[in-house]
Symmetry: C2
Subunit: 201 residues, 2 copies
């Protein structure tokens, strides 16, 4: 990657993490990076594609770790359903790990999710991983209807985003926070169904 592109990248990450995406103008970014305005469009095409690349790298890092942990948990479980807590750990611990190593990651993600720029970007970079994880969770709560399971999945995503990516005041240790979250979510998923699924004959 050329020096100019890298400097745009770094400046954009720093500024978006600190101020948010909409609040950060390309002119701010190029001032901080010490490059020309048009070079952003030369290297990235548009402001949105710059953001896309930013998310892309971060997301890939987390997603690889997630799938790795999931495979390990599946191997350990054998034919039995993977324990719910193990699935949740595989999904959430990688986020804590990356967040601890690179705090800007959480901030950028938080900004972008928060600003509602995600319908497409989330789809592009996170849907595939979700489709690997949720069927596993589904196996461990077979007594739920599909409808109720779908909503519990929403609750998980909501709690996770708000907690990890939320522009929260108190930060604290990510590992601890994730530990609390996993306990909370596991209990929520294992709660008796409001409308239990019909048991098949």
């Amino acid at each position: 990657m050329t020096d100019t592109k890298q400097r745009i990248f770094d400046a954009a990450e720093r500024l978006i993490a600190a101020q948010g995406y909409s609040a950060t103008s390309l002119r701010q970014i190029i001032a901080e990076a010490g490059v020309n305005l048009a070079s952003v469009h030369y290297h990235f095409g548009s402001k949105e594609e710059l953001l896309d690349e930013l998310i892309h790298r971060k997301a890939d890092l987390v997603n690889r770790k997630r799938l790795e942990l999931l495979e390990r948990a599946k191997a350990a479980a054998g034919p039995a359903p993977v324990p719910l807590v193990a699935i949740l750990e595989a999904f959430l611990l990688p986020v804590a790990e990356v967040a601890t190593a690179d705090p800007q990651f959480v901030q950028v993600m938080g900004r972008v999710i928060g600003e509602g720029l995600m319908p497409q970007i989330v789809g592009k970079y996170f849907r595939a991983v979700g489709e690997r994880f949720f069927p596993e969770i589904r196996r461990s709560v077979p007594e739920l209807t599909d409808e109720e399971f779908g909503w519990r999945r929403h609750f998980l995503i909501g709690a996770m985003c708000h907690t990890l990516y939320g522009h929260s005041e108190a930060q604290g240790d990510f590992e601890t926070r994730i530990g609390y979250l996993i306990r909370f979510l596991a209990a929520g998923f294992e709660a008796p169904a409001v409308k239990p699924a019909e048991v098949n004959a």
Copy 2:
């Protein structure tokens, strides 16, 4: 309220509900309302203050109902702690009620929360109600440390926002959805503490 102001108000609500706040320009709003650009600034001061007024009314409606239900639940409980489910119902059912009667409410709120415009607005219109509710919830889970309780509160808010206000595809009946959410949250709050609080002598 003057006719012009009301028309701006209505057009803004419709457009923001449908497209989001950032994606809706004042010029779109005035075109739909059939008024002059400067009249927006005359009546509201700025685009952001227009949004603020929009949220203000919606929020007040929900918050009044919330506090009413909470008082009723407290009266029914007497000196005993209010049952957790009753507190959650008092907090969440009013949202479903308003959402059913006026679907644009949920959409506008969803947009605004999603777009991260809320640090101030949430504080202005929702913090006070939160400070009435969370001490009640706290009483029903005394075995948690303050730290862990604080995070569970975050999980609740995250799940709620993502579920109610989330730009979700599947909508479905709000009452049902809230029922699922309450079950999930109650179980999460009542899960054993990761780090139990020291028991006082």
